[in-house]
Symmetry: C2
DNA sequence: CCTGAAAGTCAAGCAAACTTTACATTTTAT
DNA sequence: ATAAAATGTAAAGTTTGCTTGACTTTCAGG
């Protein structure tokens, strides 16, 4: 699974800590997702889509 | 999180076991998601969207 | 150069997702 | 009515997502 967090975050000039706060998760979680260590849960994916005002599909790319 | 699995499955006349096979998960997992016991992982949500030819947002409704 | 903010990473622990096995209940068809 | 198929549910175990705390590395500004 690829994602566009880093770009979307950069566009908004948010730090990982900023995003973490908006999502109500830890900074390490944002970092782990961004660096591809693991995928977010579905609820967290929805939250991420929400703060970036995008669909999940626009942010995350599933590689079957 | 609400979802439309039961309806989508009924429309296609698939059993939970049928769907589980298509998704490559256990029948109990399909049942648990359908009955709201827990949410699927993001990868599984993508697979579900794929087999139903819908977006994740069309199938799952996040309740903030 | 040097400082401070941001990003990366590791470990231990808890919670959520998913597995298998097994059994009970409900629905469907004959 | 009965049998088979589908659905629901439960326990115990594994894997994945997420936490806190701590430490290192990278990068931009004075």
């Amino acid at each position: 699974m690829k994602n566009k967090l880093k770009v979307l975050r950069a566009e908004r000039d948010w730090s990982q800590a900023d995003l973490a706060e908006k999502l109500d998760v830890s900074r390490q979680t944002v970092n782990a997702i961004e660096t591809g260590k693991y995928d977010p849960s579905l609820p967290l994916a929805f939250k991420i889509a929400e703060v970036f005002e995008k669909t999940i599909e626009e942010i995350f790319v599933y590689e079957g």
